[in-house]
């Protein structure tokens, strides 16, 4: 197990700043997800930790040892790549044993460790096969085994399941989490999938434009986004431009209690809106209903045409074009340069409080 400490990390490619002044501490045995859209710098950060890039500024320490300028082969890290990066001219055994052979371990020990790790990833008996004879999920398991077999202190995963279908992705991410917890290994996982990040992380680092937006536990990031970007990026969110004044925010024909003055952004989760009787300033027109099986999302418009998504119980049925009333139970107001202000109506049910705790 190991700790990773990033201090003032910055990376520029020519005139383009990929990462800017980043501080982060990753604890022993923690699984941290780097989450962000394309170009946010998450893969660059992972490659910096792995030694594939050198930071323009700052230091990287693993277990207190400065590794900033060490090449990948001299760091106690191992990376699982998005494209599997298996060597097609080698068998599964050859791929997994490669790192051990470089360490000149005895043949018997190599065989034993390879078999053990293949068993761990559910590929016992596949050693003689070529990568081309495996499915995408099996190939990614081989890539994981190849990284784990050298017993790295830090496991780095660069969008490892991006090329797999949804079902397989969910199964593999659970397996990776399980293996990571069983081995107690520190892991850094890059993804642009918020579901993936929310499902497996101890903590999530949200990145945008090379800057760290927020670091926190999945539930905390979901419930208490610190920036409008995080609010809009994590989970489904209605983001409305509005104006603060007279103790309320007016956005898209909706008026809700809020302090302050001037332009602001109103963020409301679809599940924080309940249906009620129509009333002035709290009425929407139903555009369509999207049935997700477990719940229903109503795509509606406010009086000025602004879209508003409402998540509700699947037993509720409304018709397209129908005007229904809404009751906003929880909302957040973001203003430039200030901390977000969170509000909830009196009607917020007690379980919602507990849900985000």
């Amino acid at each position: 197990m190991a700790q990773v400490r990033l201090t003032g990390i910055a990376k520029a490619f020519g005139k383009v700043t990929a990462l800017d002044a980043m501080d982060l501490m990753i604890d022993d045995g923690e699984l941290v997800c780097l989450l962000g859209p394309s170009g946010s710098g998450k893969s660059t950060l992972l490659r910096l930790i792995g030694g594939f890039e050198t930071p323009s500024e700052g230091t990287i320490a693993i277990d207190g040892v400065d590794v900033t300028h060490l090449p990948p082969e001299r760091r106690p890290t191992a990376m699982v790549f998005q494209s599997h990066a298996l060597w097609s001219h080698m068998t599964v055994h050859g791929n997994v044993a490669f790192g051990l052979k470089l360490r000149r371990l005895p043949r018997a020990e190599i065989r034993e460790r390879v078999e053990k790790v293949l068993d761990l990833v559910g590929l016992a008996g596949y050693g003689a096969r070529l990568p081309s004879q495996l499915s995408g999920g099996q190939q990614q398991r081989v890539a994981l085994a190849r990284s784990l077999v050298i017993e790295p202190k830090i496991l780095l995963l660069d969008e490892p399941f991006a090329s797999l279908d949804q079902h397989l992705r969910e199964r593999l991410r659970d397996e990776v989490r399980d293996i990571q917890q069983r081995l107690g290994i520190t892991a850094v996982f890059v993804t642009h999938g918020q579901d993936e990040a929310l499902a497996i992380s101890d903590r999530i680092v949200v990145l945008a434009d090379g800057r760290m937006q927020q670091v926190g536990r999945p539930g905390e990031i979901y419930a208490e986004p610190k920036t409008a970007f995080v609010a809009g990026f994590i989970g489904a969110m209605n983001m409305l431009d509005g104006t603060l004044g007279d103790g309320e925010i007016a956005a898209g024909g909706l008026r809700l209690a809020a302090e302050g003055a001037g332009p602001a952004r109103l963020a409301i989760r679809p599940e924080d809106i309940a249906l009620s009787e129509p009333e002035e300033g709290r009425t929407v027109t139903v555009r369509r209903m999207i049935d997700f099986g477990s719940h229903v999302v109503i795509d509606s418009t406010l009086s000025d045409g602004t879209h508003l998504r409402i998540q509700t119980d699947k037993t509720i049925r409304v018709e397209t074009g129908e005007r229904v009333g809404i009751r906003v139970e929880r909302w957040t107001v973001f203003t430039e340069g200030e901390a977000p202000r969170r509000y909830s109506s009196d009607t917020v049910r007690p379980f919602r409080e507990a849900r985000y705790a």
């Binding site: 792995g50 594939f52 090449p71 990948p72 082969e73 890290t77 191992a78 990376m79 790549f81 998005q82 494209s83 990066a85 298996l86 060597w87 097609s88 001219h89 490669f98 790192g99 470089l102 360490r103 081309s132 890539a143 190849r146 990284s147 050298i150």
Partner: protein, 285 residues
């Protein structure tokens, strides 16, 4: 519906055949027919019948054999030198980006746009007797070096320079199949540069190297301009030898025999090329 599908497939097949008909006809007319004519013309003589005397002469004539041996030797050495020189450049260009890499690529591909006669002239001006190298050595009061001009080394140097761009492009194409992630993965596990090259890169570009060597051999075996202008008068490579036998000696039969023997060697390497291509299509590198 099945009938309509079948009809569509038949139509597609026919238009496909029509598309390749013209090039195939040209190939038969301009390549296969002359080759067949040459082969038949060296062993069958109207009025006298079959004879392999010209082949017997070639393979018993010391001068012809020395020419064939020189050609084989120059071809082998030049091919190996081209791959040896082009490989580090190809590796650099594959795994590096930026303005320096672009400059290196431009410089490496430059010989492709220079005619062989100019290459020969430049060679003579630089490495020939009283060339730039000689002049500089004299100016520095250093002893003169033996010029490679008109020695077997002459055409080798010229041919390496001349064929470097094609070799580089072929190797680059092969290296394109080696992903940067697969190299990074090996580095991550502790592989140094030598291990990376021998254990990861080389096995995955084997077929590209065979194709590159085959292409080189095909071109070099029948090379004419540079061996003619830079090479020794005796022994000589097969290209100049054929030309001299045909024009100076006015001996078309022996010239054709030499051409058929040259073709046989090239065809053997062509077969290696075809097999490498077929192997490459069967599975990923």
């Amino acid at each position: 519906m099945i009938a309509a599908l079948r009809s569509g497939m038949m139509g597609g097949r026919l238009s496909g055949l029509l598309l390749v008909a013209l090039p195939v006809a040209l190939l038969i007319w301009l390549v296969l027919w002359p080759v067949l004519q040459a082969m038949v013309g060296t062993v069958y003589f109207p009025g006298t019948g079959f004879s392999t005397a010209s082949y017997a002469y070639f393979f018993t004539d010391d001068y012809s054999l020395r020419n064939l041996w020189l050609t084989l030797w120059v071809t082998a050495l030049t091919s190996v030198l081209r791959v040896t020189v082009a490989m580090p450049i190809a590796l650099y260009l594959r795994f590096r980006t930026g303005s320096v890499a672009a400059l290196v690529q431009a410089l490496a591909l430059f010989p492709m746009f220079v005619p062989s006669v100019l290459v020969a002239y430049a060679f003579i001006r630089v490495l020939g007797p009283n060339g730039i190298v000689d002049t500089v050595l004299v100016a520095l009061h250093l002893p003169k070096l033996a010029s490679p001009y008109l020695t077997p080394a002459g055409p080798i140097i010229g041919l390496v320079w001349d064929g470097l761009p094609l070799t580089l492009l072929l190797l680059l194409s092969g290296l394109g199949r080696v992903s940067i992630a697969s190299v990074d993965a090996a580095r991550d596990l502790g592989a140094g540069s030598f291990t990376l090259f021998t254990r990861i890169i080389l096995p995955r570009i084997q077929s590209s190297i065979i194709v590159t060597l085959a292409f080189n051999v095909l071109g070099l075996f029948s090379a004419f301009t540079l061996p003619f202008l830079l090479g020794p008068a005796s022994p000589e490579m097969m290209g100049p030898y054929m030309q001299r036998t045909f024009s100076d000696n006015a001996d078309p039969l022996n010239a054709t025999t030499q051409a058929v023997i040259t073709f046989a060697f090239c065809a053997a390497f062509g077969l290696i090329y075809v097999r490498a291509i077929a192997k490459g299509r069967k599975g990923p590198a």
